[in-house]
Symmetry: C3
Subunit: 119 residues, 3 copies
């Protein structure tokens, strides 16, 4: 098991066997605990970017992503999220679950979890 | 990685190594974006059937299912869901998580996610 | 696949390949369907203890845990949960997702799901 201990309470990701388990990504950047400006579309872009940056640390790309789970605070965000998501992934289509949840902290309306394969 | 690209934005499932990651299944059928009639019991049957049909495409059965996650829009549905679930799986008992969530689209009250093993 | 059939409708955990998939743990003990007393901190301790007991059955420790998902019924519980969680895991830092959800049964305010590796 290879973990990355940048965060105080959890690893941004852990590698076990051929799989990379990526922690829940919030739409924040530069370590500031506040959702990025611009509504759900910008928030969706940010969580995908945060995931992408973690993949890059291991030399992976979005094509390594096997499954994504998007937790959104209202199902009304589905369409905007979906457009940003489709544009990000293009021809690569991981398995996916979209789950409407209760309010998040910091004005966040989306959280993204992912599993990628390493090979 | 082997994915199945019938859906526009995601794959119904992706196979990585020995595992089959199945996308969130809603209680809809024939491509109609509306929950099936009959309340939570019929909806539970439908999501299990949709999962089953994906397993079949890979020559698998319910006995290959390792873990199921059922997202329900009210914990009051637990008992009815559970009866349908127990009847479907019989002696095979995957690991399971039941998670109450916020409202889904299309009158759906349940979404089902699963991981199966291929061997 | 090796499952453990102590529960009527699901296995507390299932082992597939090198991975142990642990079912959603509620903050209950001794089979009593009622959340333990003492608020979110005691509840967090209990779900971690329940997970730990399942790991022990397979001769594993908390260091085998690859990913934890904590479902909490209000994001306001994050800080208390986090302190208990950090104390439990110490230097070992699994990937993690914290997901605010709708009300659970039995006065429970937290549910914990985990994946561990066996090696």
């Amino acid at each position: 098991m290879k973990d990355k201990k940048a965060e105080p309470f959890y690893s941004p990701y852990v590698i076990s066997g051929d799989m990379m388990y990526i922690s829940g990504q919030l739409p924040i950047k530069d370590g500031v605990l506040k959702a990025v400006e611009g509504g759900i579309r910008q928030q969706a872009k940010q969580v995908l970017k945060n995931m992408y940056n973690l993949l890059k640390e291991e030399g992976l790309t979005k094509k390594n992503v096997v499954m994504c789970k998007a937790y959104i605070t209202d199902i009304k965000y589905w369409e905007d999220f979906n457009e940003v998501y489709a544009e990000f992934f293009g021809d690569h289509k991981p398995a996916r679950v979209v789950i409407p949840i209760s309010p998040l902290s910091f004005g966040c309306n989306i959280e993204l979890e992912a599993i990628a394969e390493i090979k």
